[in-house]
């Protein structure tokens, strides 16, 4: 009956709330307890290094072009051996929205998202991170990837020296 | 002590009523009226009628004035539409009433200059009050209550939701 259903619907919730009163809260008391974040969590960016320990970033500006809030800026430079790098690299975390588009855009897997999310600060200028702050000593999510082993001719290995590379064709001769 | 309190309350009631009729903003007027009712209720209490004092607060200050306030607030009077200053035509009846009041006060004072024939002090306990109300004045109470019932029924009849009629009938 309808009335019976209404009465039940009014009083049954009381039993539920009373039961919940004695259950353990599901809250994680944050500063004391911390969640284990999922491995692909998107928090602040890092600049990773290739397996040789060199900076992966080649200062191509793709990340700063992809960034919807324009929080990444850098200055490109080139070493004597032809290897490009960023003279300075700056991320303004006060503007960053942690969308991950920069990490997606990066052709060398240099810029990656890490799971470090505790960036709270009272001083906005302290949220502008320089290259030294962003650089880490590991390869991030794909540690074996080495950009210059596949491209960037003659920077870390002589031409044709990489594993999946054929020796260069000598156009001066047509002997096999 | 009691007479001092009485004069204090009387002055409050008079002042509040005066302010009530001179305020421009209707909400302020209602507040002063509530104030006057409150003073009046306390005077009833002083005169030994706690029940009437309580009814005064509950019914007048607590219910009727809330209705007044409700209506005033729903009308949403903007500052421009507040009452204009009173014209002479509106002053005249007030002055007449004031004169009447003065005359009656004068008459009372001339016939009884010492104020001897005041209200004899009588403490009306709720029980005796109820007994008097329903035994001695039972018929009157019933008539009044029936009148209120009729008024309620009449209000309901007037405010009833009319059924949708044919277009040619309605006008």
């Amino acid at each position: 009956m309808n009335l019976w259903r209404d009465i039940k619907g009014t009083f049954q919730p009381f039993w539920i709330t009373l039961r919940y009163l004695f259950k353990r809260p599901v809250t994680i008391s944050y500063p004391e307890q911390k969640r284990t974040l999922p491995p692909r969590y998107r928090a602040r960016m890092i600049l990773t290094r290739d397996p040789d320990g060199e900076e992966r970033c080649v200062a191509c500006h793709l990340c700063s072009a992809a960034c919807p809030v324009d929080c990444i800026s850098m200055q490109a430079a080139e070493r004597a051996d032809g290897r490009r790098h960023a003279a300075w690299f700056r991320i303004n975390f006060a503007r960053c929205i942690y969308c991950g588009l920069c990490a997606e855009a990066c052709p060398t897997l240099a810029i990656q998202m890490s799971s470090e999310y505790e960036l709270g600060n009272r001083d906005l200028l302290k949220l502008v991170w320089e290259k030294e702050d962003l650089l880490v000593d590991h390869g991030g999510k794909d540690p074996d990837y080495h950009f210059y082993r596949h491209t960037g001719i003659g920077v870390v290995a002589p031409r044709g020296g990489n594993n999946d590379e054929l020796p260069p064709v000598d156009i001066k001769t047509n002997l096999p | 002590m009691a007479s001092l309190l009485f004069y204090l309350l009387a002055a409050t009631a008079l002042l509040a009523t005066l302010l009530c009729i001179t305020r421009r903003s209707p909400v302020h007027a209602v507040i002063f009226l509530i104030n006057a009712f409150f003073a009046l209720a306390l005077m009833f209490y002083l005169l030994g009628a706690p029940l009437i004092a309580a009814w005064e607060v509950i019914v007048y200050a607590g219910a009727i004035m809330v209705l007044f306030l409700f209506v005033i607030m729903t009308l949403e009077l903007s500052p421009e539409s507040q009452r204009p200053a009173l014209s002479r035509r509106q002053w005249a009846p007030a002055l007449l009433l004031f004169l009447l009041l003065l005359i009656s006060a004068g008459l009372i004072l001339t016939f009884d200059p010492a104020g001897q024939a005041g209200v004899p002090f009588f403490y009306a306990s709720p029980r005796s009050f109820g007994a008097a109300l329903f035994n001695r004045y039972g018929l009157a109470v019933e008539i009044v209550s029936f009148q209120l019932l009729f008024a309620a029924a009449g209000a309901y009849y007037l405010g009833r939701r009319r059924k949708a009629r044919q277009p040619e009938e309605s006008s």
Partner: protein, 333 residues
């Protein structure tokens, strides 16, 4: 003279203690409500200030006192400043007629454990609870804000409608106790509380009390998701705090009134009377909080329809029935 002094001193001590206990209870009810609601929703609630959040009311007080006391530009200044005080004072004054223990023998005299044993005690409580609406109404009107005004209008309509049912529901109690005085009503329940002898009146009074205190499921005057904060939208700092304190004082007072009218006041086996009284008041407060944690808010037309079409006729029928039974039992003089 010395005698008078002693009486006055005892009176002052009593008043001070009542005031202190009431305000502390109101402050800690805020905490209790937040904690209990949190636990019902499987959260912790405030647990940072002091041990388990025990100092939270103090922290709230400091926060409210140090905040800016904002006065909206278009507000009606005096009414705006006055309204929160009205809301708190009416709740505080209503406690004056609540007896919380039997008279105490002290220094060879009887010290009644009630501020003022009026012979129209219940009516006094009613008068104050009907005046309590002015704090809300004037605060909402004086803010000169649409939300506040709507909240105030709702509060007025709601409190007017439920006051009727509330008043009618206690008439049977008065009939049974044959007195308006709360002390005598409590004494009439020495054997059996009125909640058992007249459960219908108890239920109606309880629901009407919920509506009078503007609590869920009748918290339309401050419905957060429609009216921002209802009548106290424009208030800040301690003036908002006064509204808040008034609300919880009201909770304590309503608990005390329900206890006195229906739950037998201080009567109870074994434990001292004051403990029974406090326990009952807290139990009522807990049920109020429990209801808030459980039931959703009513729609306004449902609220009005329930008040006028269900509670009021029920209260009238109950009044008739109780009167009839009392006459039949030969209880009437």
């Amino acid at each position: 003279m010395n005698d008078l002094l002693l009486t006055g001193l005892l009176m002052l001590i009593k008043l001070g203690m009542i005031l202190a206990v009431l305000l502390t209870m109101a402050a800690y009810l805020v905490l209790a409500e937040r904690k209990l609601l949190a636990r019902m929703q499987r959260r912790y609630g405030p647990n940072r200030v002091g041990f388990g959040g025990m100092l939270q009311p103090l922290a709230d007080l400091i926060k409210l006192l140090t905040k800016e006391d904002f006065l909206p530009a278009q507000a009606d200044k005096w009414l705006f400043l006055l309204a929160p005080g009205l809301a708190a004072v009416t709740a505080l004054l209503a406690f004056a007629v609540v007896p919380f223990a039997p008279p105490l023998e002290l220094f060879g005299r009887q010290l009644p454990m009630v501020v003022c044993d009026l012979n129209v005690g219940i009516l006094y409580f009613f008068g104050l609870s009907s005046l309590a609406v002015y704090g809300v109404a004037l605060g909402g009107w004086a803010s000169n804000s649409k939300y506040a005004l709507l909240g105030a209008l709702r509060a007025m309509g709601q409190m007017l409608s439920y006051e009727l049912a509330m008043g009618l529901s206690i008439v049977p109690v008065i009939l049974m106790a044959r007195s308006f005085s709360l002390t005598e009503i409590v004494q009439a329940q020495a054997s059996l509380p009125f909640a058992l002898t007249n459960p219908l009146a108890f239920g109606i009074f309880f629901i009407a009390a919920l509506a009078e205190s503007k609590r869920t499921p009748f918290d339309l005057p401050e419905a957060e998701n429609e009216l921002v904060a209802g009548f106290h939208t424009e208030y800040s700092g301690m003036r908002f705090g006064l509204f808040f304190v008034g609300e919880y004082l009201n909770l304590v007072v309503l608990g005390a009134i329900i206890t006195s009218l229906f739950l037998g006041g201080w009567h109870g086996p074994l434990l001292p009377p004051i403990i029974w009284f406090l326990g009952k008041v807290l139990a009522v407060a807990f049920v109020f909080i429990w209801i808030r944690g459980t039931l959703p808010r009513l729609r306004y037309d449902q609220l009005m329809a329930f008040g006028w079409k269900a509670l009021l006729p029920l209260a009238l029928v109950n009044l008739l029935a109780t009167g009839g039974i009392l006459l039949w039992l030969g209880g009437a003089s």
